[in-house]
Symmetry: C2
Subunit: 263 residues, 2 copies
Amino acid sequence: MADIFDGQKLAKEKEEKLKAEIKKVKIKPKLVVVLVGDDPASRLYVELKKEAAERVGIDFELKKFKKSISQDSIIAYIQEKNGEKATSGIMVQLPLPKNFDEFKIRRSIHPFKDVDCLHPKNLGMLLLGKPTYYPAAVKAVLAIIKNLKGRKVVIVGASNLVGKPLAMVLSNLGATVTLCRSTTRNLAKHTKMADILVSATGKPGLIKKEMVKKGAVVIDVGETKGDVEEDVAQVASFLTPVPGGVGPVTVVSLLENVVKLSS
Amino acid sequence: MADIFDGQKLAKEKEEKLKAEIKKVKIKPKLVVVLVGDDPASRLYVELKKEAAERVGIDFELKKFKKSISQDSIIAYIQEKNGEKATSGIMVQLPLPKNFDEFKIRRSIHPFKDVDCLHPKNLGMLLLGKPTYYPAAVKAVLAIIKNLKGRKVVIVGASNLVGKPLAMVLSNLGATVTLCRSTTRNLAKHTKMADILVSATGKPGLIKKEMVKKGAVVIDVGETKGDVEEDVAQVASFLTPVPGGVGPVTVVSLLENVVKLSS
């Protein structure tokens, strides 16, 4: 049976460290979160960030917009916050309702306040192996898996927020990386080769026992319900559960980014 | 036996098109190339670019620096060219002698004049699937291989100039991509799975017949001597030779970038 990762525990430890660090700085860091519409999952994620921010001593400012707001109004708000000295980091909770141009809105966040690390410049630095910081989910994965050199990593899901930046970072750290996506044929053939299998698709039950090599490390970055079936624990040597795995570590990693950007 | 790709022919066709396009524009595009030291391969590559630029009607300005030059002097020169309206694109011939900070020098090229597409911002746009243009070698590979959706691509060599950006672009186009590097264990196991195998390491003879799946498309981006052994043609369905394969198409792709940046 696999070791089951305790994300709550690692998150707690990281929070304690961060709290101590924040106590030492003169100006309290501040995170601004933009939430558009009323997607229940998005509201939950924002709430989790808020609670964690309050626990560690980060000011948390939530700006809610109705779905009917104009795109320009959101961008104008972000630009105002870009110019506000007290704001250390800004993020837009994704996904946005479909009528918005996600790329354009995200890009309006100044690269120095881009706490999600989604600005082209920050992603480019990452690709070049010169990251100033990492997207929170990537940071969380790096906190969980070690010794990447020469290991075979298979990532399922090629998103801008997780899959693609993670592939670049793990390659820079010496891993052999395969990036699968919805167009991949015979997914199991690829996942079976993985020493480390990372799934980040948001498709519950996508990763089944028979798709995993005996002894593999399995990292589930799937949202809400997780991508990995429970009985994968019978073949994996290490497994991150959902909930209580990568999720809590991602939240505190985001807050670490806020502190980093504030200094 | 594999079809052998005729890079000279495709490059010629592309040059003719570009020449016609340049005739229509009012201001002649200009490429500035910075060459530091006297590496013979670098001098050859610069010469090939110069000849091609002259054939299509692009002004070519070569700035040679001695190895003993200070880094700041190179950056000052680049910054001068950044501000010069007549200059459409600037590139630094790589590799630089070891005493220079390649990243810092390259970064001094303004993203709007970054003809190699190596500025973090331009690489980030590429990762996000919003490329304004491509690194020349990536563009050349895209001109040669089509129908990427669902195909399994294995890239050997994870450089900033070819391997990593190519991996991102091909993934965005729907391919399943494996990125191998010098730390990869059992390289043949990976290369054997490829529908399309791209090698870009500069290690002559790295890719041998027994490492290639029957019927695979093999793209050799290895410099000077090529990475792929000749007898791979016996198993591949399509092969790009060195010289006369990807190389000439890369040169004209670079010139296409110059014209794109000038408009």
